[in-house]
């Protein structure tokens, strides 16, 4: 029987010959990702950790990224508790403050590989389908149980096939594609489903695929996936991973999908998600001219070298509007270093950008760039929920790095094609 990607990988990991949507299987993931929330996770199971220990020292990946450097005594103490845990239990994959956002680290360090299964106590764990892995978000309690047992249950999801045909127009980005799709299918359009992207995908780099899979959860998806191709293998090669180190899993030709959608990429234009829902998507042209007070380029959605390259190309020789604060948030130390080497950071700071340390920064409203009432922020992040950036009376608009960079110059939401020379 032909199977989708999700069916195939869940069959493999559960030791079943075939599985069907709705079936519940037990799996042992390759990795369990946790971040600053590791502290509350281990506190839940303190006596059990003493008695049984961590199931497997190479299972957890722990990245400190959410509130870094610590913003208060409480968050500092959280980090301290985690460092002690890592030391006491000899956790193999630990990335302290300064490495970057967990999702970027998991991919950049070659931990997420084609055909692997990862779970993480963060909703954007769905990102790793960019390199052909199956990955999904869980809560803290489940992460605690996994640390002790190394296994959990998963329901085999229905799969949605999204075919991307044609070629993107200049000035239109992967971010516009995924926002366009979410606007079309709605914030619950892929609930409980595995989403596969097919079609003319060779035009998307792994970085761009990452932007798309990262936002899978914003349409409700369990996981999001791009089939492994030359682009993937080349990327993995560039980070020192050879094809002998993984076995890619591909969906079968006649697999059954619960829904099949097709998009003509040449028809997609720059878009913005308006407050307070990611599926409230409009063409930039429909809301052009709206004034903004803060811009954010970065996060696990759009904080990679190619994103800053685009921003720097637009901002070179220009100045950020005096009414705007432009925050630059690299997704990792590696991205930061690469951007430094290429002179991108110089350009961005000269134009008026403010550089933040690699981490989650203002994205979740805990610190660094919290908004004031009635302020508007145009951001490359993945969420624009009410209160998300720390203030319930502020507004967040989501767009591509190009749209944010151009808009930062004009001080109002602006079509990026104006700034693309």
């Amino acid at each position: 029987m032909d199977m989708t990607f999700a069916e195939k990988i869940l069959a493999k990991y559960s030791g079943e010959k075939g599985v069907v949507p709705g079936q519940i299987v037990t799996v042992k993931p390759d990795y369990l990702l946790t971040h600053d929330n590791t502290a509350p996770i281990i506190q839940k199971i303190k006596p059990e950790l003493e008695e049984y220990g961590v199931h497997n020292k190479s299972l957890p990946i722990i990245v400190l990224d959410h509130v870094i450097p610590a913003a208060s005594e409480k968050t500092a103490n959280n980090h301290k508790i985690i460092r002690e845990f890592v030391k006491n239990h000899k956790i193999e994959h630990f990335f302290d403050v300064g490495y970057g956002v967990c999702h970027q680290i998991v991919v950049e360090k070659g931990l997420a590989l084609p055909g692997k299964l990862l779970l993480g106590s963060d909703s954007h764990t769905c990102s790793y389908g960019a390199v052909g892995a199956f990955s999904s978000g869980i809560d803290r309690t489940e992460a605690a149980a996994l640390m002790l047992t190394g296994e959990t249950w998963l329901k085999v999801p229905n799969s949605i096939k999204i075919t991307l045909d044609g070629k993107l127009q200049p000035g239109v980005a992967a971010k516009d594609v995924v926002l366009h799709i979410i606007g079309d299918v709605s914030a619950s359009g892929a609930n409980y489903c595995s989403v596969e992207f097919h079609g003319d995908i060779e035009q998307f780099s792994v970085e761009e695929r990452f932007t798309i899979t990262n936002m899978g959860v914003e349409m409700g998806a369990k996981n999001a996936f791009f089939p492994v191709d030359n682009i993937t293998t080349k990327y993995l090669n560039s980070i020192g991973i050879s094809t002998s180190q993984y076995t890619a899993i591909y969906p079968d030709n006649n697999a059954a999908y619960s829904k099949e959608l097709k998009y003509n990429l040449s028809n997609i234009t720059p878009v913005v998600a308006l407050p307070h829902s990611v599926d409230n998507v409009k063409k930039v042209s429909e809301i052009e001219g709206l004034d903004i007070q803060q811009c954010l380029i970065g996060t696990c959605t759009n904080g990679r070298l190619s994103d800053f390259k685009i921003a720097a190309r637009i901002l070179k020789g220009e100045k950020v509007h005096p009414n705007v604060r432009l925050l630059i948030l690299p997704s990792s130390k590696q991205v930061y270093l690469d951007a430094l080497k290429e002179g991108i950071i110089n350009t961005l700071i000269e134009s008026g950008g403010i550089l933040l340390p690699p981490g989650c920064g203002p994205c979740l409203g805990a610190h660094q760039g919290v908004l004031a009432p009635k302020e508007r922020c145009l951001s490359t992040a993945n969420r624009n929920f009410k209160g998300r950036m720390g203030c319930k009376d502020a507004e967040i608009y989501l767009a591509s790095p190009a749209t944010v960079a151009v808009s930062a110059i004009y001080g109002k939401i602006t079509d990026p094609r104006k700034g693309v020379h």
């Binding site: 869980i138 489940e142 047992t149 914030a187 619950s188 369990k222 409203g365 969420r383 209160g387 998300r388």
Partner: protein, 161 residues
């Protein structure tokens, strides 16, 4: 018993603002901020046995579990919605918070209607109408019966010793 009714796409920031995620960890710290940016009257007036009725995609967004932990702690008997976001749904199984996916019950409700639950028989009664909701799969019931994922896991660890 009161009914709290909300719309579609109630997200985790509305249920529990992100700014408190790394500063509030105990139940007493979590409770006052529940639904803070959605309905400030909720935390003050919620009582044991109350029911939440909501539209589509309840609990979408972050994987934070304070919304689930908090709703369970203040004694919400069930959240009845047209649909739920998956991490929130999973989290509720883990914490033992009852979620009922029943679009018909949600649509039948009008303000002032009495809502009651007959969990044994898988029924929800809205006004004078009764609606069935499906039983959970046995794997999930096993977690529920132990009172949540951690007690279930502790038992499993003891058994496997």
């Amino acid at each position: 018993m009161k009914v709290w009714k909300y719309d579609d796409n109630i997200n985790t920031d509305m249920l529990f603002p992100g700014k408190y995620v790394y500063t509030c960890s105990t139940l007493e710290e979590i409770k006052p901020h529940l639904l803070e940016d959605l309905d400030p009257s909720f935390a003050k007036n919620v009582e044991e046995g109350d029911i939440i009725l909501a539209g589509k995609n309840f609990g979408c967004g972050s994987s934070r579990e304070q919304p689930v932990v908090g709703l369970k702690a203040v004694g919400i008997a069930a959240v009845v919605a047209e649909s739920f976001a998956r991490i929130f749904y999973r989290s509720s199984i883990n914490q033992g918070l009852l979620l009922i996916e029943c679009p018909d019950a949600m649509k039948a409700y009008s303000k002032g209607d009495n809502v009651s639950l007959d969990i044994e028989n898988g029924k929800i009664i809205v006004g004078k109408k009764s609606f069935s909701f499906p039983r959970l799969p046995k794997e999930i019931l096993a977690i529920r019966e132990e009172g949540g994922l951690l007690p279930y896991t502790r038992k499993k660890l003891k058994k496997n010793r």
